[in-house]
Symmetry: C2
Subunit: 213 residues, 2 copies
DNA sequence: AAAAGTCTGTTGCATTTGCAACAAAAACGT
DNA sequence: ACGTTTTTGTTGCAAATGCAACAGACTTTT
């Protein structure tokens, strides 16, 4: 039996393979446009081909939560992205972006020849979701803003294999992702700098000290 | 093309079908025993046949977080349950329980005859994870203990289709699941009772007023 | 039946966090 | 190149939360 790949997004070759295998619908969006509404009627899988997008939900009082963020190679869709019955979950373009769309059932159902790519894609969907959910739950699960920040930073550091990195989110968006007040988060980032645990300027961060979080 | 089922766990018939189709290894555990360690070496999918189990992680300072909880029909496994590289993620028996184990790759790879059950199981895994992650992120994402509680309660209420329900977790465990201090949570539950938003005794809850959370 | 362990419930107090409001810098659109 | 919008950064103050510590009820084990 073939070993399944451990990655959580498609690489360039796989993206090309995906395009050939599924002949997806290609759509382009400009900043702020809604790419997909994750509701019961939605049966599409989306793959970010270029640009970035956010999965966002906004509650009645205007509190925004960034549930997930997508870069080229990331996939999303109602069936395997978190979505709720109450507040609308929207995938919106953070920057100008290009997206591929394929019907969920075409992906989940094995094709006649048990095409390796289908199995790979199914595995990837499962992995992607698992890792993203894992990260988010792990970060949100920390009891303090400091804990949330350091948990998130060290995850990014690990995935980039470097103690210095640029955050994939703006600080404003990061606050929405870790679900805390932005000014309180800024204050805590300042504290972390003062205590020489990190050095940061805007969203460029270097971890100086490993902290048990 | 067959419509895929919207459930997030196996029902009784499906459990029986699953057993026949996969011939899983059957294991029994007593309260507190470790059923599965979700690490890189682990390639099994577990299905709870009877009893209950928790997916738990404990940080260096002893803070426990309940990442997920499982009842009969629920599935878990490293490949699609949240797990991390730092703290160990353990599935432990909350009560005496029986578990079925199947290799992940046998599940994820379509069988020769494109058996309907395999496709169903893959879909179920994806759905299960999505819903569980959805719920947890949604709950943890609320900025206050009150918000977390009401978000969780209304989810349980919806899934039970009743305003009165018994929580699937003890209050102590609930605090670990929503990741807040237990005493602070108790205080907030008392407030909710005083304000007649809910009526509760121990882990039996009735929602009196729908609150925007 | 007693003992051990777990779960629910409570309170005072210190700390952390969120809120509101503002200002400067940077990015973006035309 | 200018105006607009977004992002970063800051502070005082009120409110929410976590911590510590304790007690009684309920379960499970021996």
């Amino acid at each position: 039996m073939k070993t399944l790949y451990p990655l959580s997004s498609f690489n360039k070759t796989e993206l090309e393979g995906f395009e050939k295998c599924f002949c997806p619908v290609v759509r382009s969006y400009s900043r702020g446009e809604v790419i997909m509404r994750l509701d019961e009627e939605n049966n599409y899988v989306g793959v970010i081909a270029s640009g970035t997008a956010h999965l966002v939900t906004t509650t009645f009082d205007g509190t925004k939560t960034i549930i997930d963020y997508f870069e080229p190679g990331n996939i999303f869709g109602r069936r395997f992205s978190p979505c709720t019955q109450i507040d609308p979950y929207l995938v919106t373009a953070k920057t100008k972006c290009t997206v591929w769309l394929v019907e969920y059932e075409r992906v989940i159902t094995c094709c006649e020849k048990r095409c390796e790519k289908h199995i790979r894609l199914i595995d990837l969907m499962i992995l992607t979701m698992a890792r993203r959910a894992q990260l988010h739950v792990e970060v949100l699960g920390k009891r303090s803003i400091r804990g949330k920040l350091m948990s998130y930073f060290s995850h990014i550091s690990r995935s980039r294999e470097s103690r210095t990195f640029v955050l994939p989110l703006s600080l404003s968006d990061l606050a929405d992702y870790i679900s805390v007040d932005r000014s309180a988060m800024m204050r805590e980032i300042k504290n972390l700098n003062n205590e020489k645990i990190i050095v940061s300027h805007a969203n460029k961060v270097t971890i100086l000290k490993d902290v048990n979080v």
